[in-house]
Protein backbone atom coordinates (compact mmCIF):
# COMPACT_ATOMS: atom_id res chain seq x y z
CA UNK A 1 0.00 0.00 0.00
CA UNK A 2 2.78 2.34 1.04
CA UNK A 3 4.67 1.40 -2.14
CA UNK A 4 1.63 2.18 -4.27
CA UNK A 5 1.14 5.60 -2.71
CA UNK A 6 4.81 6.44 -3.28
CA UNK A 7 4.47 5.37 -6.91
CA UNK A 8 1.37 7.53 -7.34
CA UNK A 9 3.17 10.48 -5.76
CA UNK A 10 6.16 10.02 -8.05
CA UNK A 11 4.03 9.78 -11.19
CA UNK A 12 1.98 12.82 -10.12
CA UNK A 13 5.06 14.88 -9.41
CA UNK A 14 6.45 13.83 -12.79
CA UNK A 15 3.26 14.89 -14.56
CA UNK A 16 3.26 18.16 -12.61
CA UNK A 17 6.86 18.89 -13.47
CA UNK A 18 6.13 18.32 -17.18
CA UNK A 19 2.98 20.42 -17.14
CA UNK A 20 4.57 23.32 -15.24
CA UNK A 21 7.72 23.60 -17.31
CA UNK A 22 6.94 22.57 -20.84
CA UNK A 23 9.89 22.37 -23.18
CA UNK A 24 9.14 25.53 -25.12
CA UNK A 25 7.72 27.65 -22.34
CA UNK A 26 7.82 31.36 -23.10
CA UNK A 27 10.08 33.15 -20.62
CA UNK A 28 8.23 35.81 -18.66
CA UNK A 29 9.61 39.32 -18.89
CA UNK A 30 7.99 41.79 -16.51
CA UNK A 31 8.82 44.74 -18.72
CA UNK A 32 6.81 47.19 -16.63
CA UNK A 33 9.43 46.74 -13.91
CA UNK A 34 12.17 48.01 -16.20
CA UNK A 35 13.34 51.62 -15.86
CA UNK A 36 11.41 54.11 -17.98
CA UNK A 37 14.27 54.62 -20.43
CA UNK A 38 14.47 50.88 -21.12
CA UNK A 39 10.71 50.67 -21.51
CA UNK A 40 10.82 53.56 -23.96
CA UNK A 41 13.60 51.84 -25.89
CA UNK A 42 11.61 48.58 -26.05
CA UNK A 43 8.50 50.37 -27.30
CA UNK A 44 10.52 52.09 -30.00
CA UNK A 45 11.90 48.74 -31.14
CA UNK A 46 8.46 47.14 -31.56
CA UNK A 47 7.07 47.28 -35.09
CA UNK A 48 3.63 48.66 -35.96
CA UNK A 49 2.05 45.26 -36.48
CA UNK A 50 3.10 44.15 -32.99
CA UNK A 51 2.39 47.45 -31.33
CA UNK A 52 -1.34 47.24 -32.14
CA UNK A 53 -2.06 44.06 -30.07
CA UNK A 54 0.52 45.25 -27.51
CA UNK A 55 -1.50 48.42 -26.91
CA UNK A 56 -4.62 46.28 -26.47
CA UNK A 57 -3.10 44.34 -23.53
CA UNK A 58 -4.27 46.91 -20.97
CA UNK A 59 -5.05 50.60 -20.57
CA UNK A 60 -1.58 51.10 -19.15
CA UNK A 61 0.07 49.56 -22.21
CA UNK A 62 -2.14 51.71 -24.43
CA UNK A 63 -0.92 54.88 -22.73
CA UNK A 64 2.69 53.70 -22.76
CA UNK A 65 2.56 53.08 -26.51
CA UNK A 66 0.82 56.38 -27.08
CA UNK A 67 3.38 58.37 -25.09
CA UNK A 68 6.61 56.50 -25.77
CA UNK A 69 6.36 55.48 -29.42
CA UNK A 70 8.86 56.99 -31.83
CA UNK A 71 7.09 60.16 -32.95
CA UNK A 72 9.77 61.09 -35.48
CA UNK A 73 8.39 58.41 -37.83
CA UNK A 74 5.46 59.94 -39.68
CA UNK A 75 2.57 57.54 -40.11
CA UNK A 76 -0.59 57.84 -42.16
CA UNK A 77 -4.03 56.34 -41.75
CA UNK A 78 -5.73 54.84 -44.74
CA UNK A 79 -9.13 53.20 -45.16
CA UNK A 80 -9.75 50.47 -47.69
CA UNK A 81 -13.45 49.90 -48.36
CA UNK A 82 -12.71 46.95 -50.64
CA UNK A 83 -11.85 44.71 -47.69
CA UNK A 84 -13.22 46.93 -44.91
CA UNK A 85 -9.94 47.69 -43.25
CA UNK A 86 -8.12 50.57 -41.70
CA UNK A 87 -4.37 50.62 -42.16
CA UNK A 88 -1.38 52.38 -40.71
CA UNK A 89 1.00 53.26 -43.53
CA UNK A 90 4.70 53.61 -42.70
CA UNK A 91 7.10 55.89 -44.63
CA UNK A 92 8.36 52.84 -46.56
CA UNK A 93 4.75 52.24 -47.74
CA UNK A 94 4.06 49.17 -45.61
CA UNK A 95 0.37 48.83 -44.85
CA UNK A 96 -0.45 47.32 -41.45
CA UNK A 97 -4.17 46.78 -41.42
CA UNK A 98 -6.96 46.08 -38.98
CA UNK A 99 -9.72 44.41 -40.94
CA UNK A 100 -13.37 44.72 -39.89
CA UNK A 101 -15.43 41.60 -40.54
CA UNK A 102 -19.16 41.45 -39.85
CA UNK A 103 -19.97 38.22 -38.09
CA UNK A 104 -22.62 37.80 -35.44
CA UNK A 105 -21.87 34.25 -34.32
CA UNK A 106 -19.42 34.10 -31.47
CA UNK A 107 -15.93 32.75 -32.20
CA UNK A 108 -13.54 31.04 -29.90
CA UNK A 109 -10.98 33.81 -30.21
CA UNK A 110 -9.37 36.21 -27.81
CA UNK A 111 -11.38 39.34 -27.11
CA UNK A 112 -9.91 42.81 -27.07
CA UNK A 113 -11.36 46.16 -26.16
CA UNK A 114 -11.30 48.53 -29.11
CA UNK A 115 -12.68 51.96 -28.31
CA UNK A 116 -15.05 50.53 -25.69
CA UNK A 117 -16.20 47.55 -27.78
CA UNK A 118 -15.26 44.01 -26.80
CA UNK A 119 -14.50 42.24 -30.09
CA UNK A 120 -12.82 39.03 -31.22
CA UNK A 121 -9.45 39.47 -32.92
CA UNK A 122 -6.85 37.27 -34.58
CA UNK A 123 -3.82 37.63 -36.82
CA UNK A 124 -4.63 37.85 -40.52
CA UNK A 125 -3.49 34.88 -42.59
CA UNK A 126 -3.39 36.87 -45.79
CA UNK A 127 -2.24 40.39 -44.89
CA UNK A 128 0.13 42.17 -42.52
CA UNK A 129 -2.25 42.82 -39.71
CA UNK A 130 -5.26 41.77 -37.72
CA UNK A 131 -8.86 40.71 -38.28
CA UNK A 132 -11.58 41.92 -35.92
CA UNK A 133 -15.20 40.74 -35.75
CA UNK A 134 -18.06 43.20 -35.33
CA UNK A 135 -21.86 43.24 -35.36
CA UNK A 136 -21.90 46.35 -37.50
CA UNK A 137 -19.39 47.24 -40.22
CA UNK A 138 -19.77 51.02 -40.00
CA UNK A 139 -19.44 50.96 -36.20
CA UNK A 140 -16.41 48.72 -36.53
CA UNK A 141 -14.64 50.92 -39.06
CA UNK A 142 -15.46 54.01 -37.01
CA UNK A 143 -14.10 52.47 -33.79
CA UNK A 144 -10.92 51.15 -35.42
CA UNK A 145 -10.23 54.55 -37.03
CA UNK A 146 -10.68 56.36 -33.71
CA UNK A 147 -8.55 53.82 -31.84
CA UNK A 148 -5.62 53.93 -34.27
CA UNK A 149 -5.92 57.68 -34.73
CA UNK A 150 -5.63 58.27 -30.97
CA UNK A 151 -2.95 55.62 -30.44
CA UNK A 152 -0.62 56.93 -33.13
CA UNK A 153 -1.61 60.58 -32.89
CA UNK A 154 -2.79 60.75 -36.51
CA UNK A 155 -5.57 63.30 -36.75
CA UNK A 156 -7.08 62.47 -40.12
CA UNK A 157 -7.48 59.58 -42.51
CA UNK A 158 -5.30 60.60 -45.44
CA UNK A 159 -6.66 58.31 -48.13
CA UNK A 160 -9.76 56.23 -48.74
CA UNK A 161 -10.35 53.55 -51.36
CA UNK A 162 -13.92 52.37 -51.91
CA UNK A 163 -16.02 50.32 -54.27
CA UNK A 164 -19.56 51.24 -55.28
CA UNK A 165 -20.65 48.64 -52.67
CA UNK A 166 -18.88 50.35 -49.81
CA UNK A 167 -19.90 53.96 -50.38
CA UNK A 168 -21.65 53.92 -46.99
CA UNK A 169 -18.23 53.90 -45.30
CA UNK A 170 -17.60 57.35 -46.72
CA UNK A 171 -20.18 58.75 -44.30
CA UNK A 172 -17.84 57.83 -41.43
CA UNK A 173 -15.05 59.90 -42.99
CA UNK A 174 -17.39 62.75 -43.97
CA UNK A 175 -18.72 63.00 -40.42
CA UNK A 176 -15.17 62.89 -39.04
CA UNK A 177 -13.21 65.25 -41.28
CA UNK A 178 -15.47 66.66 -44.01
CA UNK A 179 -13.89 66.39 -47.46
CA UNK A 180 -10.27 66.58 -46.29
CA UNK A 181 -8.98 63.28 -47.74
CA UNK A 182 -7.97 61.57 -50.97
CA UNK A 183 -10.62 59.27 -52.44
CA UNK A 184 -9.74 56.52 -54.91
CA UNK A 185 -12.25 54.41 -56.79
CA UNK A 186 -10.77 51.65 -58.93
CA UNK A 187 -14.07 50.85 -60.65
CA UNK A 188 -15.64 52.50 -63.66
CA UNK A 189 -18.67 54.20 -62.14
CA UNK A 190 -22.21 54.25 -63.50
CA UNK A 191 -23.91 57.59 -64.12
CA UNK A 192 -25.89 57.29 -60.88
CA UNK A 193 -22.78 56.41 -58.86
CA UNK A 194 -20.78 59.23 -60.48
CA UNK A 195 -23.43 61.83 -59.55
CA UNK A 196 -23.67 60.36 -56.04
CA UNK A 197 -19.95 60.55 -55.39
CA UNK A 198 -19.37 63.98 -56.91
CA UNK A 199 -22.40 65.48 -55.16
CA UNK A 200 -22.12 63.83 -51.75
CA UNK A 201 -18.45 63.02 -51.32
CA UNK A 202 -16.40 65.53 -53.30
CA UNK A 203 -13.13 64.70 -51.51
CA UNK A 204 -10.31 67.19 -51.86
CA UNK A 205 -8.48 64.75 -54.11
CA UNK A 206 -10.56 62.41 -56.24
CA UNK A 207 -9.05 59.59 -58.32
CA UNK A 208 -11.56 57.74 -60.47
CA UNK A 209 -10.84 54.94 -62.91
CA UNK A 210 -13.64 55.94 -65.17
CA UNK A 211 -16.81 57.99 -65.56
CA UNK A 212 -19.65 57.21 -68.02
CA UNK A 213 -19.04 58.35 -71.66
CA UNK A 214 -21.43 61.31 -71.73
CA UNK A 215 -21.20 62.30 -68.11
CA UNK A 216 -21.37 66.09 -67.70
CA UNK A 217 -18.56 66.82 -65.30
CA UNK A 218 -18.45 70.61 -65.80
CA UNK A 219 -20.60 71.58 -62.81
CA UNK A 220 -18.50 69.48 -60.42
CA UNK A 221 -15.26 71.18 -61.35
CA UNK A 222 -16.27 74.07 -59.09
CA UNK A 223 -16.28 71.97 -55.94
CA UNK A 224 -13.51 69.38 -56.37
CA UNK A 225 -9.94 70.52 -55.67
CA UNK A 226 -8.14 67.77 -57.54
CA UNK A 227 -9.60 65.39 -60.08
CA UNK A 228 -7.77 62.54 -61.78
CA UNK A 229 -9.81 60.55 -64.31
CA UNK A 230 -8.52 57.63 -66.39
CA UNK A 231 -11.25 57.71 -69.08
CA UNK A 232 -12.42 60.16 -71.71
CA UNK A 233 -14.74 62.81 -70.35
CA UNK A 234 -17.47 64.81 -71.96
CA UNK A 235 -15.80 68.15 -71.30
CA UNK A 236 -15.47 71.32 -73.37
CA UNK A 237 -12.86 74.04 -73.35
CA UNK A 238 -15.50 76.35 -71.82
CA UNK A 239 -15.96 73.89 -68.94
CA UNK A 240 -12.22 74.09 -68.36
CA UNK A 241 -12.26 77.88 -68.51
CA UNK A 242 -14.95 77.92 -65.80
CA UNK A 243 -13.26 75.42 -63.51
CA UNK A 244 -11.93 76.13 -60.03
CA UNK A 245 -9.69 73.06 -59.57
CA UNK A 246 -6.20 73.06 -58.13
CA UNK A 247 -5.23 69.96 -60.13
CA UNK A 248 -6.83 68.41 -63.19
CA UNK A 249 -5.56 65.33 -64.95
CA UNK A 250 -7.58 63.97 -67.87
CA UNK A 251 -5.61 61.18 -69.47
CA UNK A 252 -7.95 60.33 -72.35
CA UNK A 253 -9.16 63.72 -73.57
CA UNK A 254 -7.51 65.29 -76.62
CA UNK A 255 -7.40 69.04 -77.21
CA UNK A 256 -6.13 70.97 -80.19
CA UNK A 257 -3.15 73.28 -80.08
CA UNK A 258 -5.49 76.30 -80.46
CA UNK A 259 -7.56 75.19 -77.47
CA UNK A 260 -4.48 74.64 -75.34
CA UNK A 261 -3.16 78.05 -76.37
CA UNK A 262 -6.41 79.70 -75.32
CA UNK A 263 -6.33 77.86 -72.02
CA UNK A 264 -2.74 78.81 -71.29
CA UNK A 265 -3.38 82.46 -72.13
CA UNK A 266 -6.25 82.52 -69.64
CA UNK A 267 -4.07 80.82 -67.06
CA UNK A 268 -1.28 83.36 -67.66
CA UNK A 269 -3.58 86.33 -66.98
CA UNK A 270 -4.81 84.73 -63.75
CA UNK A 271 -8.27 83.50 -64.73
CA UNK A 272 -7.73 80.20 -62.97
CA UNK A 273 -7.37 81.35 -59.41
CA UNK A 274 -6.30 78.03 -57.89
CA UNK A 275 -4.97 75.94 -60.77
CA UNK A 276 -1.47 74.59 -60.17
CA UNK A 277 -1.31 71.43 -62.26
CA UNK A 278 -3.01 70.65 -65.57
CA UNK A 279 -2.32 67.59 -67.67
CA UNK A 280 -4.12 67.03 -70.95
CA UNK A 281 -3.45 65.13 -74.15
CA UNK A 282 -3.06 67.17 -77.28
CA UNK A 283 -3.28 66.68 -81.05
CA UNK A 284 -2.01 68.84 -83.94
CA UNK A 285 0.26 70.50 -81.43
CA UNK A 286 2.74 73.10 -82.61
CA UNK A 287 4.90 73.94 -79.60
CA UNK A 288 6.22 77.22 -81.06
CA UNK A 289 2.76 78.42 -81.98
CA UNK A 290 1.27 77.58 -78.54
CA UNK A 291 4.08 78.93 -76.39
CA UNK A 292 5.40 81.59 -78.74
CA UNK A 293 3.69 84.61 -77.18
CA UNK A 294 3.86 83.30 -73.62
CA UNK A 295 6.76 83.85 -71.26
CA UNK A 296 7.79 80.32 -70.45
CA UNK A 297 10.70 78.18 -69.26
CA UNK A 298 11.36 74.70 -70.53
CA UNK A 299 12.23 72.42 -67.62
CA UNK A 300 15.14 70.15 -68.37
CA UNK A 301 15.36 68.52 -64.99
CA UNK A 302 12.80 66.46 -63.15
CA UNK A 303 10.88 68.39 -60.55
CA UNK A 304 8.73 66.98 -57.82
CA UNK A 305 5.33 68.56 -57.79
CA UNK A 306 3.78 68.95 -54.32
Amino acid sequence: MAFRSTMVFTVRSLIRSFSVTPLFQMPALPILKFPTLVLKNILRSIDIETVIPFSLCSRKMYHLVKNFRDKTISLELSMDGEDSSVGVVTPDNHYHEVEVVVERKSRNLESVNINGHLVAMHRSKWHNGWVTYWDDEVKGIQSVIEYLSDLFGIKKVASVTVTPYSFKLLDVIKERQGNDYELSIDHRLSEKESHFILENHPAKVLRISGLPPYFKIGKYLQTVDSLFVDSELSITIDDLLNMNCVELFLSENCFTGAEIKRLLQHWAIGVFKQLKYLRLDVEDFDLEDVFGELTHTRMTEKRTYK
Partner: protein
Protein backbone atom coordinates in the same frame (compact mmCIF):
# COMPACT_ATOMS: atom_id res chain seq x y z
CA UNK B 1 46.37 50.72 -10.94
CA UNK B 2 44.16 53.14 -12.78
CA UNK B 3 45.11 56.09 -14.86
CA UNK B 4 42.90 58.60 -16.67
CA UNK B 5 45.42 58.95 -19.46
CA UNK B 6 45.64 56.25 -22.12
CA UNK B 7 42.65 54.51 -20.58
CA UNK B 8 42.51 51.87 -23.33
CA UNK B 9 45.72 50.27 -22.06
CA UNK B 10 44.99 50.26 -18.34
CA UNK B 11 42.75 47.93 -16.42
CA UNK B 12 40.18 49.04 -13.90
CA UNK B 13 39.03 47.03 -10.93
CA UNK B 14 35.27 46.59 -10.65
CA UNK B 15 33.57 45.65 -7.40
CA UNK B 16 30.33 43.64 -7.52
CA UNK B 17 27.52 43.28 -4.96
CA UNK B 18 29.27 40.24 -3.44
CA UNK B 19 32.34 42.37 -2.74
CA UNK B 20 34.35 40.49 -5.38
CA UNK B 21 36.60 42.43 -7.71
CA UNK B 22 37.66 41.76 -11.27
CA UNK B 23 39.39 43.85 -13.88
CA UNK B 24 38.02 45.39 -17.08
CA UNK B 25 39.96 47.20 -19.79
CA UNK B 26 39.64 50.94 -20.05
CA UNK B 27 38.49 50.66 -23.66
CA UNK B 28 35.59 48.40 -22.66
CA UNK B 29 34.70 50.55 -19.70
CA UNK B 30 34.63 53.68 -21.83
CA UNK B 31 31.52 52.35 -23.56
CA UNK B 32 29.70 53.12 -20.34
CA UNK B 33 28.58 56.74 -20.30
CA UNK B 34 28.08 56.47 -16.55
CA UNK B 35 31.74 55.52 -16.14
CA UNK B 36 32.81 58.30 -18.51
CA UNK B 37 30.87 60.86 -16.51
CA UNK B 38 32.03 59.64 -13.11
CA UNK B 39 35.57 58.28 -13.34
CA UNK B 40 37.22 58.81 -16.71
CA UNK B 41 38.59 62.27 -16.01
CA UNK B 42 39.26 62.00 -12.31
CA UNK B 43 40.44 58.39 -12.18
CA UNK B 44 39.67 55.93 -9.39
CA UNK B 45 41.86 55.16 -6.42
CA UNK B 46 40.41 51.80 -5.53
CA UNK B 47 37.97 49.36 -7.12
CA UNK B 48 34.99 51.04 -8.84
CA UNK B 49 31.93 50.02 -6.84
CA UNK B 50 29.04 48.83 -9.02
CA UNK B 51 27.57 47.09 -6.00
CA UNK B 52 23.95 47.04 -7.18
CA UNK B 53 24.81 44.20 -9.57
CA UNK B 54 26.31 40.78 -8.99
CA UNK B 55 29.59 39.58 -10.44
CA UNK B 56 28.04 37.31 -13.07
CA UNK B 57 25.90 40.14 -14.46
CA UNK B 58 28.74 42.67 -14.52
CA UNK B 59 31.07 40.15 -16.16
CA UNK B 60 28.45 39.48 -18.82
CA UNK B 61 27.98 43.19 -19.46
CA UNK B 62 31.72 43.83 -19.74
CA UNK B 63 32.17 40.71 -21.85
CA UNK B 64 29.95 42.44 -24.38
CA UNK B 65 31.88 45.69 -24.02
CA UNK B 66 35.23 43.94 -24.50
CA UNK B 67 33.89 42.24 -27.62
CA UNK B 68 32.55 45.41 -29.17
CA UNK B 69 35.61 47.56 -28.43
CA UNK B 70 36.54 47.66 -32.10
CA UNK B 71 33.06 48.48 -33.37
CA UNK B 72 33.47 52.22 -33.03
CA UNK B 73 30.90 53.37 -35.54
CA UNK B 74 27.69 52.50 -33.85
CA UNK B 75 24.58 53.47 -35.80
CA UNK B 76 21.59 52.40 -33.77
CA UNK B 77 20.37 48.92 -32.88
CA UNK B 78 20.89 46.15 -35.38
CA UNK B 79 17.97 44.10 -36.58
CA UNK B 80 17.95 40.67 -34.99
CA UNK B 81 18.62 39.10 -38.38
CA UNK B 82 21.82 41.17 -38.69
CA UNK B 83 23.28 39.99 -35.37
CA UNK B 84 26.54 38.08 -35.63
CA UNK B 85 26.97 34.52 -34.40
CA UNK B 86 28.85 35.85 -31.39
CA UNK B 87 26.00 38.25 -30.53
CA UNK B 88 23.42 35.47 -30.84
CA UNK B 89 25.48 33.15 -28.62
CA UNK B 90 25.93 35.94 -26.13
CA UNK B 91 22.16 36.31 -25.77
CA UNK B 92 21.36 32.61 -25.96
CA UNK B 93 23.74 31.79 -23.10
CA UNK B 94 21.72 33.93 -20.69
CA UNK B 95 18.74 32.72 -18.72
CA UNK B 96 15.78 35.02 -18.20
CA UNK B 97 16.90 36.35 -14.81
CA UNK B 98 20.35 37.21 -16.04
CA UNK B 99 18.90 38.82 -19.16
CA UNK B 100 16.79 41.14 -16.96
CA UNK B 101 19.82 41.89 -14.74
CA UNK B 102 21.98 42.62 -17.79
CA UNK B 103 19.36 45.06 -19.14
CA UNK B 104 19.17 46.85 -15.80
CA UNK B 105 22.96 46.98 -15.42
CA UNK B 106 23.39 48.12 -19.00
CA UNK B 107 20.83 50.85 -18.41
CA UNK B 108 22.57 51.96 -15.20
CA UNK B 109 25.99 51.96 -16.86
CA UNK B 110 24.39 53.70 -19.86
CA UNK B 111 25.83 51.36 -22.50
CA UNK B 112 23.64 52.42 -25.36
CA UNK B 113 24.52 49.64 -27.77
CA UNK B 114 23.89 46.79 -25.35
CA UNK B 115 20.66 48.31 -24.04
CA UNK B 116 19.39 48.74 -27.60
CA UNK B 117 20.28 45.16 -28.54
CA UNK B 118 18.48 43.83 -25.47
CA UNK B 119 15.40 45.96 -26.21
CA UNK B 120 15.40 44.82 -29.82
CA UNK B 121 15.54 41.25 -28.56
CA UNK B 122 12.47 41.80 -26.36
CA UNK B 123 10.66 43.40 -29.30
CA UNK B 124 11.53 40.31 -31.33
CA UNK B 125 10.11 38.05 -28.60
CA UNK B 126 6.78 39.86 -28.82
CA UNK B 127 6.59 39.70 -32.62
CA UNK B 128 3.91 37.39 -33.99
CA UNK B 129 2.08 37.01 -30.67
CA UNK B 130 -1.52 37.83 -29.94
CA UNK B 131 -2.68 39.93 -26.99
CA UNK B 132 -3.15 37.00 -24.58
CA UNK B 133 0.30 35.62 -25.36
CA UNK B 134 1.83 39.05 -24.89
CA UNK B 135 0.10 39.43 -21.51
CA UNK B 136 1.74 36.15 -20.46
CA UNK B 137 5.18 37.21 -21.69
CA UNK B 138 5.16 40.64 -20.09
CA UNK B 139 3.37 39.20 -17.01
CA UNK B 140 0.53 41.67 -16.96
CA UNK B 141 -2.43 40.84 -14.72
CA UNK B 142 -5.43 39.48 -16.64
CA UNK B 143 -8.84 41.19 -16.59
CA UNK B 144 -10.07 38.70 -13.94
CA UNK B 145 -7.03 39.30 -11.78
CA UNK B 146 -7.47 43.05 -12.09
CA UNK B 147 -11.15 42.72 -11.14
CA UNK B 148 -10.31 40.60 -8.09
CA UNK B 149 -7.60 43.07 -7.09
CA UNK B 150 -10.02 45.96 -7.46
CA UNK B 151 -12.59 44.17 -5.26
CA UNK B 152 -10.00 43.55 -2.55
CA UNK B 153 -8.93 47.19 -2.72
CA UNK B 154 -12.56 48.34 -2.52
CA UNK B 155 -13.10 46.12 0.55
CA UNK B 156 -9.96 47.46 2.16
CA UNK B 157 -11.01 51.03 1.40
CA UNK B 158 -14.49 50.41 2.88
CA UNK B 159 -12.99 48.88 6.04
CA UNK B 160 -10.52 51.75 6.37
CA UNK B 161 -13.38 54.22 5.92
CA UNK B 162 -15.36 52.53 8.70
CA UNK B 163 -12.39 52.59 11.04
CA UNK B 164 -11.78 56.25 10.25
CA UNK B 165 -15.45 57.13 10.85
CA UNK B 166 -15.41 55.31 14.19
CA UNK B 167 -12.23 57.04 15.21
CA UNK B 168 -13.67 60.41 14.24
CA UNK B 169 -16.85 59.68 16.20
CA UNK B 170 -14.90 58.71 19.32
CA UNK B 171 -12.72 61.76 19.01
CA UNK B 172 -15.78 63.97 18.65
CA UNK B 173 -17.36 62.47 21.79
CA UNK B 174 -14.17 62.90 23.76
CA UNK B 175 -13.83 66.46 22.52
CA UNK B 176 -17.44 67.24 23.52
CA UNK B 177 -16.92 65.82 26.99
CA UNK B 178 -13.67 67.67 27.42
CA UNK B 179 -15.07 71.00 26.21
CA UNK B 180 -18.23 71.00 28.40
CA UNK B 181 -17.96 72.68 31.80
CA UNK B 182 -18.58 70.33 34.76
CA UNK B 183 -22.00 71.74 35.66
CA UNK B 184 -23.22 71.52 32.07
CA UNK B 185 -21.93 67.95 31.87
CA UNK B 186 -23.87 66.98 34.97
CA UNK B 187 -27.01 68.60 33.55
CA UNK B 188 -26.62 66.80 30.19
CA UNK B 189 -26.19 63.43 31.89
CA UNK B 190 -29.19 64.12 34.09
CA UNK B 191 -31.32 65.05 31.08
CA UNK B 192 -30.32 61.86 29.33
CA UNK B 193 -31.21 59.76 32.36
CA UNK B 194 -34.57 61.52 32.72
CA UNK B 195 -35.31 60.93 29.07
CA UNK B 196 -34.54 57.25 29.52
CA UNK B 197 -36.67 57.06 32.60
CA UNK B 198 -39.53 58.86 30.82
CA UNK B 199 -39.42 56.57 27.87
CA UNK B 200 -39.34 53.66 30.22
CA UNK B 201 -42.40 54.91 32.12
CA UNK B 202 -44.30 55.53 28.88
CA UNK B 203 -43.93 51.92 27.96
Amino acid sequence: MTSPASSSEVKYLIESSEGNTFDVSGAALRQSNTFNAMFLNIGADGPIPFTDYNEATLKKVFEYCEHSVNEENYSGPKHQDDLSKWDLNFFNEMDQKMFIDVINASNFLDIERLTSYCCERIARMLRGKNTQEMIKVITLPTAEELEAKQKVEEKKAAAAKKVAEKAAETAEKTETLEELPVQQLVQTTRNKLTRKYLSFSNE
